[in-house]
Symmetry: C2
Subunit: 198 residues, 2 copies
């Protein structure tokens, strides 16, 4: 029974993800999610109190996967520039493979401007990444692998770039070799961070 | 009469801009635009065939302003890095001042994924900027003010950054001093583009 309940949970999330991405958050109702997932409304509400809760759970799952990947990269590399390159490769692979699910991000952001709870859930991790990368860059400066760059600006530049790429991947998906693309950009930014002032 | 007609045209655009930004494209009807602008439906359809046409005209106006600014910067600066810094300052000022109107971009992108005509109108200028900056960077390499960077990657990095900043300005508007922020990022990227390989 436990296993079946987990399957239901997962099926609801997967169906909701596809519907939100395809039709948007507003246009997707609980009834449609239930139909696509093949579950009853009772089962739905057993797992999630609201449609919004499903939405935020999807975001959380996505970010947890990213965090785990970043931690793995960090533990396997020798210095910060190398770690950032590996993380960029990972992000490039995400863009390359996950086109079906990425449009949901546009929905997150759009809803974030309208719904304080979703705003909180969207902005909190975003700020967390800014701090996370600022700390990594600080570490890189301390270990001597990065130049005397402003960690806040450098970190935000990385996050802006990732977000801009995500936007691009959403609406011009077939035009780019993402692994190459992310590499090309991260190398320029890394150059900018490793350069010593004359 | 000519003047009054132009005023009506402008009033429709301004009202539509505010409503699209505030409530979204889907939720904004021609009737509401007319009411907010204080014009009749007849007057509306005299100026614009559809709501979509208003939407695309807003985009066009915004991009024309940006293009004119870029051209001015280019004519007033001595080399490409200086021109890019000036353009970044201009973009920083836009983010700092124009928070009310920027949410419409999210609507453009969102509709671009659903409506081929809007996709065309959104993607075409976006690709144009990528080419525009790639040409500038190529010119910078030729004049010796930039290092031997890949112009395509460098240009796209700039466009990704700008788009990421635009997204950020939409949903975390009060958290950033935009002129400083854009400067901080462009300087890192310029460092990355001017650096000579050891």
């Amino acid at each position: 029974m436990q296993q079946r309940s987990e399957e239901t949970h997962t099926r609801i999330l997967e169906s909701a993800n596809l519907l939100f991405s395809k039709n948007g958050y507003d246009a997707t109702g609980v009834a449609e999610i239930c139909q696509a997932a093949g579950v009853s409304k009772g089962a739905f509400y057993h797992h999630f109190p609201t449609k919004q809760a499903v939405f935020m759970k999807l975001m959380e799952g996505w970010l947890n996967g990213l965090d785990a990947g970043f931690q793995l990269m960090l533990s396997q590399t020798e210095d910060i520039p190398q770690a950032l390159l590996q993380m960029a490769d990972m992000v490039g692979d995400v863009f390359e493979s996950a086109d079906v699910h990425l449009p949901i991000f546009l929905e997150f952001w759009r809803q974030a401007m309208r719904d304080p709870a979703i705003w909180q859930a969207t902005i909190e991790p975003y700020r967390r990444y800014q701090t996370y990368f600022a700390n990594l860059i600080q570490e890189g400066i301390a270990e001597g692998s990065l130049g005397p760059v402003n960690p806040t600006h450098a970190s935000r530049t990385l996050v802006y770039m990732a977000m801009g790429m995500l936007m691009h991947s959403l609406f011009d998906p077939d035009h780019v070799n993402w692994p190459d693309e992310v590499r090309g950009s991260i190398e320029i930014i890394l150059n900018g961070m490793t350069r010593r002032e004359p």
